[in-house]
């Protein structure tokens, strides 16, 4: 019997497969389609202190090997999440990671305070890297000092482990990773989408309502693997790998490169059952490779 469990930030995950923020709603949307109890965990849609309407459409464009999105963090607000969604999530045996977003460090702290009182949240994931909102998001994520300051502020109030989701746009992912670790982060998520753009050649207009948006999907996987590798080399806290994972083989690349767990994003749209298939695929790989515990595989890459 293969042991797929991993420990991250003091939490025990039954397996290293999580669903990524923004691609899994508030979890409940998937309950009709898959057994949520089988997942290691999932990250909620980014939660802000007030509900957000999001960006004007068109909000997505399909590209080769992926898609661009500019949803703009549309969400019901953290209070509605705690009151309306969280009570229904408590019946599932999976870790609910609340993804947190603010337009200023104070707003992140405000969201965390509301979540602190919510029963059933396992950890917080700070989104300091959303490319679709001008202020807050990406600016903080690109600057090691700002990222560290925010992490510190959140850690002072957070009653649960804090995972910081890094941007691929920082000059040095290793530098931001170290700064955030020094500021007290319990784990890192690497990485968010990459800013991209697509043009309608007949209209000579951008295909997205907001001109630019975040690129996700298999096209970004090699970049994400490299960033996870660099971040994992730079810090001693666990790194969660994200970027273009659609199969167990993809997930294994990240784990071997240094990820303690992985998140599946865009693939959830095309195949709501993909996370379960990846878990099954990891089991099959471990059996075939005679690996008793998947944690023994983490960061075993030889360069």
């Amino acid at each position: 019997m293969t042991d797929l469990s991993v420990d991250i930030a003091g939490l025990h995950f039954k397996n290293p497969v999580l669903a990524a923020s923004g691609t899994f709603g508030y979890g409940l949307e998937f309950a009709e389609l898959i057994d949520l109890n089988q997942l290691g965990g999932f990250c909620t849609k980014g939660l802000s202190i007030e509900p957000l309407e999001g960006n004007p459409p068109p909000r997505i464009v399909e590209t080769h090997g992926g898609m661009l999105n500019s949803i703009g963090l549309q969400n019901i607000g953290v209070r509605a999440f705690v009151e309306q969604k969280l009570p229904h999530l408590r019946r599932y045996q999976t870790h609910v990671i609340a993804n947190v977003f603010g337009f200023s460090p104070d707003e992140y702290v405000d969201v965390i305070r509301v979540l602190n009182d919510g029963d059933g949240v396992a950890a917080y994931e700070l989104n300091i890297s959303c490319p679709n909102v001008k202020k807050g998001g990406m600016e903080i994520g690109n600057d090691p000092n700002e990222a560290a300051r925010l992490t510190e502020a959140v850690k002072r109030v957070a009653r649960r482990p804090v995972i910081v989701k890094l941007s691929p746009h920082a000059q040095s992912i290793a530098e931001v990773a170290r700064a955030v670790e020094a500021a007290g982060a319990d784990a890192l998520s690497v990485m968010n989408t990459i800013l991209g753009m697509s043009v309608d050649i007949y209209a000579r207009r951008p295909r997205l309502g907001t001109v630019m948006g975040g690129l996700s999907g298999p096209a970004i996987k090699p970049i994400a693997v490299r960033m996870v590798f660099e971040a994992a080399q730079a810090v001693s806290i666990p790194v969660i790998g994200i970027g273009g994972i659609v199969t167990a083989e993809d997930a294994l690349e990240f784990i071997i490169a240094g990820a303690s767990a992985i998140q599946v994003g865009t693939a959830n749209y095309a195949d709501p059952g993909v996370t379960i298939k990846i878990i099954d695929g990891l089991k099959a790989y471990c059996r075939q490779q005679n690996i008793e515990r998947i944690r023994s595989l983490i960061g075993t890459i030889r360069c």
């Binding site: 923004g22 691609t23 899994f24 709603g25 949307e29 998937f30 009709e32 389609l33 849609k45 309407e53 999001g54 004007p56 459409p57 068109p58 909000r59 997505i60 464009v61 399909e62 080769h64 090997g65 992926g66 898609m67 999105n69 949803i71 549309q74 309608d200 007949y202 209209a203 207009r205 999907g217 298999p218 659609v246 865009t266 693939a267 959830n268 749209y269 095309a270 195949d271 709501p272 059952g273």
Partner: protein
């Protein structure tokens, strides 16, 4: 809503870019007129997203559904679908969306109007059948840019068989089939004839057509339901890509076309200002060809 592996029974080109896909779905769910499915060749990740397709015709057997989808080959995804052969597997997530609202005929009349443009027509077949079953008398107004010499217009023969020839009125922009012109002009002249006053309008087609139908519905005081298309990644309410601006409870807000739609009351829709004039795609299909 469920995601199952279906089998292709056949997948044939009707004419031009129009294709008809017939599949066997190992499930027995009921499909409401106007509901859709998200489809991809099984385990295919390129292109990454499924395509949204309205259920055209559905037969419920003892253990499975046989469903037809009509699509237009417009880009990478639909080109990939067109390569499917009998026996191939495809992932079908459905049924999705709200579907059309259908009441019972009031004592005042039984006439209703269906309006479609291009690839919008398949959204109205199950609706027409259900309306007839309930005692309404639907009349279809359908337009396209051009027609096929041998095949005429896509799906129209099926509507002839269902509604009778005199209840199907067609236009083509090049005059090659039916009346020359656009379908909303034909609808308008029919509405101006006081002898025929439909109780409701149901429409699916390209945005300029839909806007005109909404205007006519308002002008003639006829309730209208429009089935919209939008670029969507998931089809079941998670990605928040397919939003439409609507009036709800005295305010304007975004709702999801996949869940709160795709069918909306015409008066609720807040139309976005057109960004540009795009070359007519003539189709209400998924916004991700």
């Amino acid at each position: 809503m469920m995601d199952v592996t279906a089998t292709v029974l056949n997948n044939v080109r009707e004419y031009g870019d129009y294709w008809r896909l017939r599949v066997k779905i190992p499930a027995r769910y009921a499909v409401r007129p106007g509901q859709f499915a998200m489809i991809r060749p099984s385990a295919q990740w390129e292109p990454i997203l499924r395509r949204a397709m309205v259920f055209y015709r559905v037969e419920r057997g003892a253990h499975a559904l046989e469903a037809e989808f009509i699509y237009r080959v417009m880009g990478r995804g639909t080109r990939r679908l067109a390569q499917l052969r009998s026996g191939d597997r495809l992932d079908v997530l459905g049924p999705l969306g709200n579907g059309f609202t259908i009441g019972e005929p009031p004592p005042t009349g039984r006439d209703v109007a269906l309006v479609s443009g291009g690839i919008g027509i398949p959204a109205l077949y199950l609706l027409a059948a259900e309306l007839r079953r309930r005692g309404f008398v639907p009349r279809l107004f359908h337009g396209d840019r051009t027609s096929d010499v041998e095949r005429g217009l896509i799906c129209v023969d099926d509507f002839y068989a269902l509604l009778g020839r005199d209840h199907v009125l067609c236009t083509t922009e090049d005059g090659s089939y039916g009346q020359r012109g656009v379908v909303t002009d034909l609808l308008e002249s029919a509405l101006q004839n006081r002898a025929w006053r439909p109780l409701a309008l149901y429409a699916c087609g390209p945005e300029p057509m839909m806007k005109r139908v909404a205007q006519l519905a308002h002008q003639f005081h006829i309730p209208a339901e429009l089935s919209l298309e939008a670029a969507m990644a998931c089809g079941f309410g998670v990605c928040l890509a397919c939003v439409q601006r609507v009036r709800r409870d005295d305010r304007i807000t975004y709702v999801r076309v996949c869940c709160e739609g795709p069918v909306f009351r015409a008066e609720d829709i807040v139309w976005e200002e057109p960004m540009v004039d795009r070359p007519s795609s003539g189709g209400a299909q998924n916004g991700t060809p």
